[in-house]
Amino acid sequence: MPEFELLFPLGITHYLIGGLFIGFAVSFLFATTGLVGGMSTFFTSTWSFVSRWEFFNREAFVASRNWRIAYAVGLAVGALIWMLTVGEAFVTTISWWQLTLGGFVAGFGARLSNGCTSGHGICGIASFQLPSLLAVLIFLGTAMITAQLMQKLGGLS
């Protein structure tokens, strides 16, 4: 199937297996703690440790800020285990200003939307949330437009 290879030039096995690991991770979190875990809230709830601003000190953020840190640390640990076993170290060549600017805009948007690729994308779709499904379609759309515009304008990798 040449069309298939055109769409997935690197094959699909690693994508499929990696996705199953992610699904199993979210399932494991749910089975043991009952938590529904996206990633982006961590970047708001952690501010409650250092800021007195009332919004950051809402009950929902203060009550969840500790386990969200454990979840975030776990992510890095999992990637470390991958690197030491089947994977290898990796350093991106994307420029620092793209990473910083992209991070800022994505961080602002994800928090305004109350979800990112994991919260709306995986947890939201999995629990049949219409708002999350719409959010996913919208951010896939704007991300594709932005990435292709960036390439046309500057040829940035």
Binding site: F8, A25, F28, G34, S40, F56, G121, A135
Partner: protein, 136 residues
């Protein structure tokens, strides 16, 4: 109970980070290639992760009355309002600029991808500005 709770969160995070790495989603280059229609593999990651999670969310509460280390199962509650949709559009623009979203930024650090510190600083700053714009 608390040790089991936090230990479970840590293990779940590690499985998540392993999966993000194995699927190469910690490489912004791969994500950008998807967004530029070079390789649609990301859809398999999203699909298999969502389907697995869907089965768990649907059937686990029928098999277990409560999670192992806490009192009740939570629910993901997204509201259909302007912020959710406008925020999603803005998030997508940021994602398209760098190919980095919150999960891979955190996981990438563990695989030696130190420039993710720029992404993390950006995400923290963006979340801060968003929070300061919100009335308590």
């Amino acid at each position: 109970m608390r040790v089991a709770f936090f230990g479970s969160v840590l293990i779940a995070g590690a499985l998540f980070g392993f999966g993000l790495s194995y699927s190469s989603m910690i490489k912004p280059e791969v994500v950008l290639s998807f967004l530029r229609f070079g390789d649609f593999g990301l859809l398999w990651v999203l699909g298999s992760a969502s389907l697995t999670t869907m089965l768990t969310y649907q059937f686990l509460p029928r098999l277990m009355r409560k999670p192992l280390f806490d009192k009740s199962f939570r629910e993901h509650a997204a509201s259909l309002d302007r912020n959710t949709l406008v925020g999603a559009a803005i998030f997508g623009i940021g994602w398209g600029i760098s190919g980095v979203c919150p999960g891979p930024a955190l996981a990438g650090l563990g695989a030696g991808n130190w420039p993710m510190l720029f992404s993390l600083a950006g995400i923290f700053a963006g979340a801060y500005v968003q929070g300061r714009m919100m009335k308590a």
